[in-house]
């Protein structure tokens, strides 16, 4: 019985010699001391590789196992797992490299909380010219994203006892065996840690997934099956297929059809859209009535200054489903929504701006389906501007709250494909979100202290603080005709209010889309923390009495 902390597991099969040597050098350069390296040679045919294995085996920390027959990556990794003695196993491919401090940083994190069963880090790639590229700034634990994309990947460190208990890697998932294992481990892990630091360099070797996933098409199918089995285990009914962007598309099927209350605050304003003068609320309700395929809904219109003829027209659009709630107080969006919620009878509340238009017929089904997971607190769709560009794909935080992908093309996949699949978000735009009624009530609805801006940021944070996930999905789309020329100025007291509550979250790098945190709105991507802070400090910070230096970076105009 040893007290080793880490076992590095490396299946070996004819690696490029130089890459293999660099891999070994990165292991021997570890600043941590409590590790062993278990190499399993899967019947390599290259004599140079045999020689190198013999050389490495002279180090007492190295165990080399030679398989009698070629069994593939799953069998070789499982052999390494069975020979391992460390408390945690770290997976290292034979042509990749660890940073020298990789294991010591992981050790530090594991020491901080002994319930952590799984740790993953950021990674980058080593190009054919030896230059590091494609740094992947990964999200904190994001289970919805893992169903679409194996974003955890390298470096992954798992508690050995848990991996053994789960039976190690499974045959039949070659090419996606690590994704399958990650899904199974995270289903039962007590705590999962993400280290936002590159601890692993993935070498782009011709024919490897690091260069192009299309080199291993069987891996995509194996990934799809791994996700399908995971969904079955966790009780999610869904149809799956591989997308054109080579991610797994999970389309959930509803197991129940709860009543949905669509709450629309309005003052019956008019606007010119696509050359036509329209009453926004009328157009919105008409699109719900004509395009929605979901049948169990009511529409609660909270109105001020609305004439009776308009209310009558709305009733004819959705006969028997309209609830009207008069509102005669000074403008307060939050108060209107709260009032609408109190007059509604649905199990779920769909909070909707009147300047929206339904695009996806199954939009309500898509939103409801995500709320079937008990820890999902709110879900929002993809919102498009009148010209078809993205208005919002959720919020990200960094020195304020910002729209994800604001003004990008509707079909832009986003960095690392993040706009092509549903995933966790730090915040969602209140122009269209669905939330369970009970949860809305439990957290006190929208705060009336923030009548216009930031009530969505506040509401989302209240849910997150209570342990709920917020999901953004591209599977439901609506137009949101918010004006590009709208004055983005927000009263200073509202900025102070939101910062009093959530300043510590708003200023930090975003939890789920850290990549965007390094892109200054409207400027270039700055992959340097110090430089970014300097730029933002000079551009957006100001001093507010009582709070000192805070950011006044507002939501972009649209």
């Amino acid at each position: 019985m040893t007290n080793l902390r880490f076992s590095i597991l490396t299946p070996v099969y004819n690696p490029p010699v130089e890459a293999f040597r660099a891999c070994a050098a990165s292991v021997f350069a570890q600043t941590a001391t409590e590790w062993e390296w278990v190499l399993v040679d899967d019947r390599s045919t290259d004599p140079a590789v045999h020689a190198m294995l013999e050389e490495f085996a002279r180090d007492e920390r190295v165990t080399v196992i030679r398989r009698t027959e070629n069994g593939g990556i799953v069998a070789a990794t499982n052999d390494a797992l069975h020979a391992a003695t460390g408390a945690f196993v770290a997976f290292l491919d034979h042509d990749d490299a660890l940073t020298p401090d990789a294991l010591s940083i992981v050790d530090e994190v594991l020491t901080s909380d002994d319930t952590i069963d799984y740790v993953y880090s950021d990674e980058d790639k080593i190009g054919p010219d030896g230059v590091h590229c494609d740094r992947f700034r990964k999200p904190a634990w994001s289970p919805e994203r893992l169903r679409a994309q194996n974003y955890c990947c390298h470096l992954s460190v798992m508690r050995r006892s848990l991996v053994v208990e789960l039976g190690g890697l499974r045959t039949g998932f070659d090419g996606a065996q690590d994704w399958d294992l990650t899904l199974r481990v995270t289903e039962v892990a007590r705590a999962i840690a993400h280290i936002p630091q590159v601890l692993y360099h993935w070498r782009m070797v011709v024919g490897s997934v690091a260069t192009d996933i299309e080199y291993k098409p069987y891996a995509l199918e194996a990934g799809r099956r791994a996700v399908a089995e995971h969904l079955e285990r966790v009780g999610i009914d869904a149809d799956l297929e591989v997308t054109e962007h080579l991610y797994v598309d999970v389309r959930r099927r509803l197991t129940a059809r709860p009543k949905v209350s669509i709450i629309i605050p309005t003052n019956a304003s008019r606007k010119r859209i696509w050359g036509q003068d329209v009453v926004l609320v009328e157009q919105c309700v008409a699109s719900i009535a004509q395009r929605s395929t979901y049948d169990d809904f009511e529409i609660v219109v909270v109105h001020d200054m609305v004439d009776e003829s308009l209310l009558a027209r709305l009733e004819t659009l959705v006969p028997g489903r309209l609830v009207t709630v008069p509102y005669d107080r000074p403008f307060n969006f939050s108060e209107k929504i709260n009032l609408g919620a109190l007059h509604s009878g649905g199990d779920h509340l769909l909070l909707l701006n009147d300047d929206t238009l339904v695009i996806t017929p199954e939009w309500i089904e898509v939103l409801v389906a995500h709320l079937e997971e008990p820890d999902v607190g709110m879900v929002g769709p993809k919102l498009l501007l009148a010209d078809g560009r993205i208005q919002s794909a959720g919020h990200y935080f960094r020195f304020g709250a910002h729209h994800v992908a604001g003004q990008l093309a509707a079909d832009d996949p986003g960095p690392f494909g993040c706009l092509t699949f549903p995933a966790e978000r730090t915040g969602l735009t209140m122009a269209c979100v669905m939330v369970p009624r009970a949860l809305f009530s439990a957290v006190g609805g929208l705060t009336t202290d923030l009548p216009g801006a930031f009530n969505d940021v506040d509401f989302g944070n209240k849910l997150v603080e209570h342990g709920y996930r917020l999901i953004w999905t591209p599977h439901a789309s609506l137009y949101h005709f918010e004006s590009l020329t709208r004055d983005p100025t927000v009263p200073k007291e509202h900025i102070v209010r939101i910062y009093q509550r959530w300043g510590h979250l708003l200023d930090a790098p975003d939890r789920y889309l850290p990549w965007f945190s390094y892109q200054v709105a409207g400027l270039a991507y700055i992959d340097d923390e110090r430089l970014l802070t300097t730029v933002l400090d000079s551009a957006h910070h100001t001093s507010i009495p009582g709070l000192g230096e805070i950011s006044v970076e507002m939501l972009p105009k649209d």
């Binding site: 709260n338 009530s441 957290v443 006190g444 705060t447 009336t448 506040d458």
Partner: protein, 116 residues
């Protein structure tokens, strides 16, 4: 002439919900009130969390500063405990280290005397 005492100013504004008489509120108003109180409670907790997260780095820096000052004082003090112990250790080490060579020197010196 005696110094003038500063004026005492009492703020009379109260949180809005305190001013409300529950007995005259309708059920709907009460439900709104419950929502608002829940929001205030969660908001207050969030504010505490926010303040704590902003104060913690300062608190850590302050503690480090105090520790630094304490060690500087200890280093500067003539009767510092560390210095007394250090002198004893140094003295002991010198004694232990020199005892063996001293014996050898004595032997050499004694031999020389004999030679004479």
């Amino acid at each position: 002439m005696a110094d003038r005492q500063p004026a005492t100013i009492t703020q009379t504004a109260k949180p809005a919900h305190v001013l409300r008489d529950l007995s005259v509120m309708s059920v709907d108003e009460l439900r709104v009130e419950v929502l608002r109180l829940r929001d205030e409670l969660i908001g207050a907790r969030a504010e505490i969390g926010n303040l704590r997260s902003r104060l913690e780095p300062r608190h850590r820096a302050y503690e480090s500063l105090i520790a630094l000052e304490r060690s500087e004082r200890a280093l500067a003090g003539p009767d510092a405990e560390y210095a007394r112990i250090a002198r004893r250790i140094i003295g002991f080490a010198r004694w232990a280290l020199l005892r063996a060579p001293r014996k050898a020197v004595r032997k050499v010196l004694a031999g020389r005397r004999t030679d004479r």
